[in-house]
């Protein structure tokens, strides 16, 4: 093997190394100069390689040398384009993840990302909406230190969020000391009514523990949560301005859920007939059934008032499952 050939092989190896090194740098830094370096190294490598083997493939080379020289560059550019598309797709997925992780559990975010397409432009669909409110909190908060109010609310919101997200619900917003949660959006949830009512019961049960702690610090004072649950059609999607957008829902079903919450006493869950009819039979025995008048409705609404006590059996079953 003559010296010239050995030297040529070494040189070719270095050029190939240059191709790979620049390509890896470009992949990491996305800097145009590395892209240019890849193309130049590739062109040089192809030319050298083809020259080296032209004796073996003389006729084939004569016809296609120029084209062949550019084939690797073309292939690289196509590969790079595909890679760019992949990165764009990944960025899109990250955007969705970042946006929805405010509202839903990481598990639901993962499902949404896997699903690929999410309707966020505003779509009418059946939802179950849950509203909670701490009874007497505003009055009591006047007696408390601001830091104490914040700490209590943070604890309450934390546990509410955990409960809602565990049942694949979406935290829509916190309004003062109230929580608004939605089920069946953005991810479809077959038993959304059941999930919402179970969440409500778990929230009541959980709040009892917080209340016990609260009573220790504030003897004589007591807190309770009133919850309203309703099912109906509403428009759900990204609503807002260009600079501020929120994933939320609007419609009569939402207003009704809010009004039902207003009728719930501390420790009660007022469930509309629309929601109750979707629940599994005999699983949620109501403490009482009544007809109430709510603002904006001409006729009285039939509601089912549930409490932790009336649904003790179902809650125990759920605990066992966990």
């Amino acid at each position: 093997m003559d010296f010239a050939r050995v030297a040529f092989l070494f040189f070719l190896t270095w050029v190939f190394y240059g191709v790979v090194r620049s390509a890896l740098h470009y992949k990491k830094k996305r800097d145009f100069k590395y892209l240019l370096a890849v193309c130049l190294f590739l062109l040089l490598a192809s030319d050298l390689w083809l020259r080296a083997y032209e004796v073996r493939l003389q006729a084939f080379m004569d016809a296609f040398r120029v084209i062949l020289s550019f084939v690797p560059v073309g292939a690289f550019l196509v590969f790079n384009y595909l890679e760019e598309q992949k990165l764009k797709e990944k960025a899109g997925r990250e955007k969705v993840t970042a946006f929805f992780s405010r509202y839903v559990s990481p598990h639901v975010v993962k499902k949404l990302v896997e699903k690929g397409r999410i309707d966020v432009g505003g779509k009418r669909r059946q939802l179950t909406i849950l509203f909670t409110d701490i009874r007497g909190f505003t009055t009591l908060s006047e007696k408390m230190q601001p830091e104490e109010v914040v700490a209590f609310l943070n604890g309450y919101f934390e546990s509410s969020t955990r409960i809602v997200q565990a049942r694949e619900g979406t935290i829509d917003k916190f309004i003062g000391d109230a929580v608004m949660a939605v089920y069946n959006a953005p991810l479809e949830l077959k038993d959304h009514a059941n999930a919402a009512v179970l969440s409500a019961l778990e929230m009541q049960e959980d709040f009892e523990k917080q209340n016990t702690e609260f009573k220790k610090k504030h003897p004589g004072d007591s807190l309770g949560v009133g919850i309203g649950v309703n099912t109906g059609e509403a428009v759900v999607g990204n609503i807002g301005s260009k600079s501020y957008v929120e994933y939320t829902c609007i419609g009569d079903a939402v207003n009704t859920a809010s009004r039902l919450q207003g009728k719930a006493a501390a420790g009660e869950i007022v469930v509309s007939e629309a929601t109750y009819s979707l629940l599994p039979e005999r699983k949620y025995p109501p403490a009482r059934v009544e007809e109430i008048m709510v603002k904006g409705k001409a006729k009285p609404l039939k509601v089912f008032v549930l409490t932790v006590k009336s649904c003790k059996k179902t809650l125990a079953e759920q605990r066992k499952r966990k």
Binding site: F10, T13, Y17, R21, Y53, F60
Partner: protein, 179 residues
């Protein structure tokens, strides 16, 4: 995903793949990688002139040569100020090289033989394909040396180029012996 499943990525310039070799560096893994490389590289391409003695000699040369190339590259990295353990450097370089042989060279060789020699009856294109595949192996070896050199910028690249050249030297020695 478990890291154990990702070692094959080393053949495609993935740091995750290289990490596997680095984390599991040991005499057994080093021996397995060296043996795999020796068996593949000493496998005769021309069966009409093949002999067991020649294949065994080639395998020994590859074993020694590859170990020497990795050791020399380690020495080079050390001389440039690299802070890296010999075990990790050696196993990473040899492991990446062996993986590229198993996952890239071997399948391409099979495809080349089937497509050009057997189906088209024209071995020239196969020869052209084979002529470029070893460069991929050199570059993988060099890249692994660079990544595991514990150096940065031009010194790291110099180690990579040295590694690729060292392994090319092993190939040339092997070709000279076979010729």
């Amino acid at each position: 995903m478990k890291q154990e499943n990702l070692f094959w990525k080393a053949a495609f310039f993935s740091e995750t793949g290289l990490q596997y070799f680095s984390e599991n560096a040991g005499p057994k893994l080093a021996a397995a990688c060296l043996l795999a490389a020796a068996v593949i590289l000493s496998f005769p391409t021309d069966f009409s002139q093949a002999s067991l003695f020649q294949a065994a000699t080639s395998a020994v040369i590859v074993l020694i040569g590859l170990a020497a190339a990795a050791s020399l590259s380690f020495g080079f990295a050390k001389a440039l100020g690299g802070r890296v353990s010999f075990k990790q450097f050696f196993v990473s370089a040899v492991g990446a090289f062996a993986t590229s042989l198993v996952l890239v060279s071997l399948p391409l060789a099979v495809i080349g033989i089937l497509a050009f020699n057997v189906l088209l009856g024209d071995p020239r294109m196969g020869a052209l394909l084979f002529s470029i595949v070893p460069f991929y192996n050199y570059v993988v070896f060099g890249w692994a040396c660079e990544e595991k050199s514990g150096l940065k910028h031009s010194r790291a690249t110099a180690t990579g180029v040295f590694g690729a050249s060292a392994v090319l030297a092993v190939y040339l020695a092997l070709s000279a012996l076979i010729a």
